[in-house]
């Protein structure tokens, strides 16, 4: 068995037997892994409080060549993200981020940028970043990394290059925008101002800056992009995300 140590985000924990835990964690180096932590519920040294949900911990683990359940040797807490632990809305958003990550990245798919995104979003969430902005920021980047970026460069019907000046229409089943000549606006195919398209482009690129800076705190744009992402995620994911129910509490 190969031994590894990776910074990891704890995604799920489940009690197993007298004192063991089954832990699902997102590692920087090996993607999402599920493993058993023997004696973790009683351990004061090997795991000391580092296997709680949403924590960033350095996890020492071995990968088994066969089977889905690997083995955790020890872990050390790096960041507990206290801001997530004291607010139901923050807990719900963190849970939503975890669920979306689980859907987009099946076990053992390595994506270091996704690990960094999840970690950075937890830092921002714990620091009290505006949750509506952070949600849009995470959804756009996660979908992009998962291979479902919204196509914003040209009309998905006539292939005319989008100049960034006119109004566009988002088509969920095409996962991209269309010009007004090819498609009419409707409840399902929402119209987008050029600002909204440009902000989405910036979010989908390797942009720096905080979510609220990028979204410029314009509620009209925030609501429009939020609506677009809901349609896009619902269509692409095709299943219910449990924690989404609690995001607007």
């Amino acid at each position: 068995m190969d031994m590894h140590i990776s910074p990891s985000i704890i995604m799920r924990i489940k009690e197993f037997g007298e004192s063991d835990l089954i832990v699902t964690f997102f590692t920087r180096d090996h993607g999402r892994i599920k493993g058993v932590a023997k004696g973790a519920r009683r351990s004061r040294r090997r795991f000391s409080n580092s296997l709680d949900l949403f924590c960033l911990s350095d996890v020492e683990y071995s990968l088994k060549s066969n089977g889905d359940i690997h083995f955790l040797h020890s872990s050390k807490l790096i960041k507990p993200f206290p801001g997530i632990r004291s607010d139901f809305s923050a807990l719900s958003l963190a849970s939503y981020m975890i669920e979306l990550t689980e859907i987009l990245f099946p076990q053992n798919i390595v994506e270091k940028r996704m690990f960094e995104l999840l970690k950075n979003c937890f830092v921002l969430l714990s620091q009290g970043e505006r949750m509506d902005c952070l949600r849009i920021f995470f959804e756009t980047k996660a979908m992009s990394l998962g291979g479902y970026a919204v196509s914003l460069d040209k009309c998905c019907h006539c292939k005319r290059i989008y100049s960034g000046a006119g109004r566009a229409v988002f088509i969920p089943d095409r996962g991209g925008i269309s010009c007004l000549k090819c498609e009419r606006e409707s409840e399902y195919s929402i119209g987008l101002e050029p600002e909204a398209v440009n902000i989405l482009k910036t979010l989908q690129s390797e942009s720096d800056g905080s979510p609220s800076e990028i979204l410029q705190l314009d509620m009209k744009i925030i609501n429009k992009i939020r609506h677009l992402l809901k349609l896009h995620i619902d269509y692409r994911i095709g299943r219910k995300i449990k924690s989404a129910e609690y995001l607007d509490w």
Binding site: R12, E18, N49, L91, W249
Partner: protein, 203 residues
């Protein structure tokens, strides 16, 4: 086809459905039952049925009980105006063991867990709110576990309670270094909590 006789196979199958019992442990328990007196099997079967038939939730605190209301809720001496909120029956038993707490309990039956689809409506939070006004509660002790979900549940309840009753004293069980612990192996959050909630030494 299994290697054991049918009736024994069935017992092993039923036992292995219990949490923490795998096929091997189930076979070991089943063989032990087979070797023991008939009385053991009868007592075991009767107590399993009795648990399912007699145990229910107390209509006041929602702890598991034989009688409704439970022993603690029907004891007038324990109506001292304090209410300790716990996640489940096991937590209530742990707090009851030292015998230092003389108030009453309220069992939530879980914690807020959006990942598992558990929200405020799935816990006994509304029942807690109505108890507080009915039973003249002065202090609510939030004794949920110090996990992410337990902490969030505690702060959610505190926020909800303070909306209606500003005069209510709300406390949280202390967090810090456990008995027999070793500071070298403590995580930074525990140390932070321990330092923040340090106590004056009384001689």
């Amino acid at each position: 086809m299994g290697i054991y006789p049918k009736s024994l196979e069935r017992l092993i199958e039923h036992l292995s459905r219990l949490p923490g019992i795998g096929q091997k442990s189930a076979a070991r328990i089943a063989l032990h039952v087979l070797r023991s007196d008939k009385q053991l099997s009868e007592d075991l079967a009767m107590s399993l049925i009795a648990v399912k038939e007699k145990i229910r939730l107390c209509s006041v605190c929602f702890n598991i009980t034989d009688d409704d209301p439970c022993r603690i809720c029907s004891d007038e001496n324990r109506a001292d105006g304090t209410l300790c909120v716990v996640e489940g029956p096991g937590d209530q038993l742990a707090l009851e063991e030292p015998g230092t707490f003389k108030g009453r309990y309220h069992v939530l039956h879980g914690v807020l867990s959006p990942l598992d689809g558990i929200g405020p409506k799935d816990l006994k939070i509304n029942e807690l709110l109505s108890r507080i006004s009915k039973e003249k509660i002065r202090e609510v002790i939030l004794a949920t576990n110090p996990t992410a979900e337990g902490e969030t549940t505690a702060s959610f309840i505190a926020g909800t309670l303070l909306k209606d009753r500003l005069d209510l004293k709300i406390t949280r069980i202390a967090l810090g270094v456990p008995m027999g612990g070793d500071l070298k192996y403590m995580d930074r959050m525990t140390i932070e909590h321990a330092m923040k909630s340090r106590m004056p030494v009384e001689l």
